[in-house]
Amino acid sequence: MTVRPLLSVRDLTKRFGNRVACRDVAFDLWPGEVLGIVGESGSGKTTLLNCLAGRMTPDTGSVIYDSNASGLVDVHGLSEARRRLLTRTEWGFVNQDAREGLRMGVSAGANIGERLMAIGERHYGEIRRTATDWLGRVEIELDRLDDRPTDFSGGMRQRLQIARNLVSNPWLVFMDEPTGGLDVSVQARILDLLRGLVENLHLSAVLVTHDLGVARLLTHRLMVMQGGRVVEDGLTDQVLDDPQHAYTQMLVSSILPV
């Protein structure tokens, strides 16, 4: 059996008025692969991610997803109902700011359980058991199950957001700077956690980051964006150790040595 790409992007262009946010982006994401998108602020990384995840509609181009439930689907051709169902069952989306991805007014358990309840789980004890299990997997103390995310530290909120997304066993997770704004030791823990989860759950992921260190740790393949275009792509080690494009060379040489 031939392996099909999980996500297939062709000629994707998104404009805001006369400004082009991303232009003619095309790539395939294979099952189990983690793709990094790097570039400086304003290079169109987040816009691209939003277009991929169905949160924004691109002006031209297509995003084809190989759905587990319904075969090949055109993400932007789906009805809103089906797209939303897809995003809360087979996909996950981790925001940079955990407050955007969490319900801050309800407990950690309810946050994790929301997806389960949205797809019809109606057994309180079962939901709670699953939530407890996931709390453990993202290394949050189990007695914090009934605490609200407002009482959590930044790192814990981010881990909670990850658990909330992974509870429905998604195939594909979009991550927008998941470690941005966290201090380095917390970053390291989250990276460690993500690496383990991606490995164990055979997740595919698209990760947007400006931090090349994060990209090197987590991703298999890298796309470098500048001014809305993909200027270089290849295996992560190859791109970072032997950058070909002038912009990539500049990016790599800008990493601060410790």
Binding site: A81, E114, A118, H123, I127
Partner: protein, 294 residues
């Protein structure tokens, strides 16, 4: 109050002009056709403040006719200010007979209760609704709540029940308890106690809900399934009392707790005054009437 013949009065029959009533009737028809769906309508200024029943009054005004008999209750009672004023209002502007007896009424406008006496086919129950959107406290954006209804995405409602159990050990919501209508729309039953929720399910009477401030009408047609939301392991339950009504001895009705003196003596009474009086009438002669506790 002197009776002014309708023909000479300055108002149209039933206060609202005919065009407005037709507009409201169209909204009601749509609401009945799509049970539980909130239909926007052009709410009018009424001669009483928002929150006092402007939505219910407009619905009643649109459906009432000269051969109707109107009953108005507020918190189950026929004799509270709101109930008395609205009843008198319609007696004057719509020339209808009024009653306090549930059985005799063809239209019952209510706030906070469903009568204890089972309703019959042909009766219409008009609810006054303060906040028609059941998801409002969970999702403040109107555009988003409409999308959630349209796509039947109700996970967030269940989240609020989960949260209640996590915090209180049980579903602590006691009034305005969310219901699923006809397996499609989640609906706010207005602030009736959850005790009354089972009476909405497959009721032979037509239920109309009017929200004046937010200008929404929704409806539950007769015999429509109305299910109170719950969890498999935390099923929906209604309130129970260990006491019985001090006046009629009822054990199956919704009881109000009253403090009757300055030493904190308590008394439990039926909230539905008509039900209570009917029962007191039945029991007269059978047993000596118990004196209210001193």
């Amino acid at each position: 109050m002197p009776d002014i013949p309708i023909q000479e009065a300055a108002y149209n029959y039933a206060y609202l002009d005919e065009q407005t009533k037709r507009m409201i009737r169209r909204a009601i028809l749509k609401a009945v056709a799509v049970p539980g769906y909130q239909v926007p309508f052009g709410g009018r200024e009424m001669p009483l403040p928002y929150g006092w029943g402007t939505g219910g009054i407009q619905v009643t005004a649109a459906i009432i006719g000269r051969d109707d008999t109107l009953k108005v209750i507020d918190q189950g009672a026929d004799d509270t200010t709101n109930a008395v004023s609205i009843r008198r209002f319609f007696a004057r502007v719509a020339d209808v007979a009024t009653t306090t007896r549930t059985e005799e009424a063809s239209v019952i406008q209510t706030r906070h209760r469903v009568p204890e006496t089972p309703l019959k086919e042909g009766q219409i129950l008009v609810f006054q609704v303060p906040i028609p959107e059941p998801l409002r406290m969970l999702e403040p954006r109107e555009t988003e709540t409409r999308t959630l209804h349209a796509l039947s995405e109700y996970g967030v409602m269940q989240v609020s029940l989960y949260e209640s159990i996590a915090r209180h050990g049980r579903i602590a919501k006691t009034y305005n308890y969310p219901v699923m209508v006809n397996d499609r729309y989640i609906m706010s039953p207005s602030p009736i106690p959850k005790f009354d929720n089972p009476k909405l399910d497959r009721s032979p009477a037509l239920q109309l809900y009017g929200a004046g401030r937010e200008k929404r009408i929704y409806a539950v047609p007769p015999y429509t399934p109305v299910k109170s939301l719950d969890f498999d392991d935390h099923p929906f339950e209604i309130e129970t009392w260990s006491e019985s009504c001090a006046l009629c001895g009822s054990r199956e009705s919704f009881l109000d707790e009253m403090i009757v003196d300055d030493t904190g003596k308590r008394l439990f009474l039926c909230s539905d005054t008509d039900w209570c009086q009917e029962r007191q009438g039945e029991h007269q002669g059978e047993q000596p009437q118990e004196e209210p506790a001193k």
